[in-house]
């Protein structure tokens, strides 16, 4: 007889896990959505967006970087955690320039989908309106830093999956920014290919394939069909070209 997989409880629902798995890995396999932006199943956690915060007893922990343990009672829902998630999302919106009506990613954007699901109706905080560049130098890929949320997924995908070093995070605090690994700092001078995972993994509209923006019309996109919590985790931000 094989021993039953160990379990933890997520809002009272038993979630089986394999030794060494994080809370979010096990929950995702069990079909339970924990909101997240900087986590991706293929990569080590980054722990930066804090959207995946859950409560265990009196403590709050990031589900993407907390190992599952048998018998843990993990809370995801509840008014205090929901309010905190809304605040985190609102801060991400006001820190960048997110004008969804003119964004090619609208309707297929994880930030937007999580915010809609969390019930974020407005930004609440003062808009920063930062002055950030758009880099259109690459023939096939557009980089619009106005929408970058510094999740670091493109950095990890480029280094660990594509075997390149196209992106890095530089600076500190509010000055943190995504930098491009070429002498000129321009995307067109890197070896990034449109088929690289780094060019497709962005959860928001910061890295976009050119000439495909409206191939799927607004209103028929991934999160138009169903809320993000009801959909399976995607491998990539965008399908390969």
């Amino acid at each position: 007889m094989t021993p039953a997989a160990p379990l933890f409880l997520l809002d009272g629902h038993p979630v089986p896990f394999k030794p060494g798995e994080t809370l979010i890995e096990a929950a995702t396999r069990a079909g339970r959505h924990i909101p997240h932006l900087c986590w991706h199943p293929g990569f080590a956690p980054h722990g930066s967006c804090r959207l995946c915060m859950v409560a265990i007893g009196e403590r709050q922990l990031a589900a993407c970087s907390t190992a599952a343990e048998a018998g843990l009672e993990v809370r995801l829902h509840g008014e205090a955690l929901a309010a905190q998630r809304r605040t985190l999302l609102q801060l991400l919106f006001v820190e960048g320039n997110h004008f969804c009506p003119s964004c090619e990613r609208s309707g297929a954007c994880k930030l937007q989908a999580e915010a809609c699901e969390a019930g974020v109706e407005g930004p609440h905080f003062e808009q920063l309106y930062p002055d950030r560049p758009v880099d259109a130098s690459h023939p096939d890929v557009l980089l619009d830093l106005n929408r970058c949320i510094l999740c670091g997924l493109c950095v990890r995908a480029s280094a660990q999956h594509d075997g390149k070093a196209v992106f890095a995070l530089g600076g500190r605090g509010l000055g943190t920014q995504l930098v491009v690994g070429s002498a000129s700092g321009r995307l067109g001078d890197t070896d990034l290919a449109a088929s690289d995972l780094a060019a497709r993994i962005c959860p928001v509209g910061a890295i976009l394939p050119k000439r495909r923006g409206f191939a799927v019309p607004i209103g028929q996109r991934r999160y138009d069909a169903a809320p993000i919590s009801a959909l399976p985790e995607t491998d990539d931000g965008m399908p390969p070209p």
């Binding site: 919106f93 997110h98 004008f99 609208s106 699901e117 109706e121 407005g122 930004p123 808009q127």
Partner: protein, 187 residues
């Protein structure tokens, strides 16, 4: 004893305005179509492009489309706040500045010169208009919650007619408006 029939409930007074917006939210509001008949059973319009009244009176609900791009927008918004019990930011521009706010990383004086003095095809000696009747532009476009307290936001660019209807029926029934998936949109 013949009791007089109870008086019909007082109609709610509703004001609407478009500040730095494109009137798209108002057009979408009108898209509730025949539901407008049900609406006017319950509300009376105060200041609104639909009545053409120029001053806002005491209202229960104020719907504000558009953000703040000039001094007159700020004045009108403050009058709405002072007169409306419940003030609603309607649409992307009221909520986060929207498309007009995409000028915010540019200098306003350079923008005005580029449009009125440096474009191709302008008459010789063209000047930036400075008629005293023209409201002064603000350096940056602001969402309305940065200037007055907002009770609710109705997102969308524009919010769909169904979103307007859901929002208003909830509000008229005294419930906190809940849009839910499908009606909650930022685009």
């Amino acid at each position: 004893m013949n009791a007089a029939p109870p008086p019909a409930p007082r109609k709610l007074r509703l004001a609407t305005v478009s500040l730095a917006g494109c009137f798209g939210c108002h057009m979408s509001f009108l898209d509730i179509d025949e539901r407008l008949f049900a609406l006017i059973e319950r509300v009376e319009f105060d200041r609104s492009p639909l009545t053409d009244l120029k001053a806002v009176g005491r209202c229960d609900i104020g719907l504000v489309e558009g953000g703040l791009c000039n001094a007159e927008n700020v004045q009108v918004l403050r009058e709405f706040r002072a007169h409306c019990k419940t003030l609603v930011a309607v649409g992307a521009c009221a909520i986060n500045g929207g498309l007009p706010a995409q000028r915010n990383h540019l200098r306003i004086d350079e923008l005005l010169r580029a449009v009125y003095q440096q474009r191709d095809g302008l008459a010789a000696g063209a000047q930036v208009p400075d008629d005293p009747e023209l409201p002064l532009p603000l350096n940056r476009v602001h969402p309305i919650h940065e200037v007055v307290h907002i009770d609710y936001s109705l997102p969308g660019c524009p919010p769909s007619a169904d979103a307007f209807w859901q929002f208003l029926t909830d509000l008229m029934a005294g419930r906190t408006p809940q849009l839910g998936h499908g009606l909650m949109h930022y685009d």
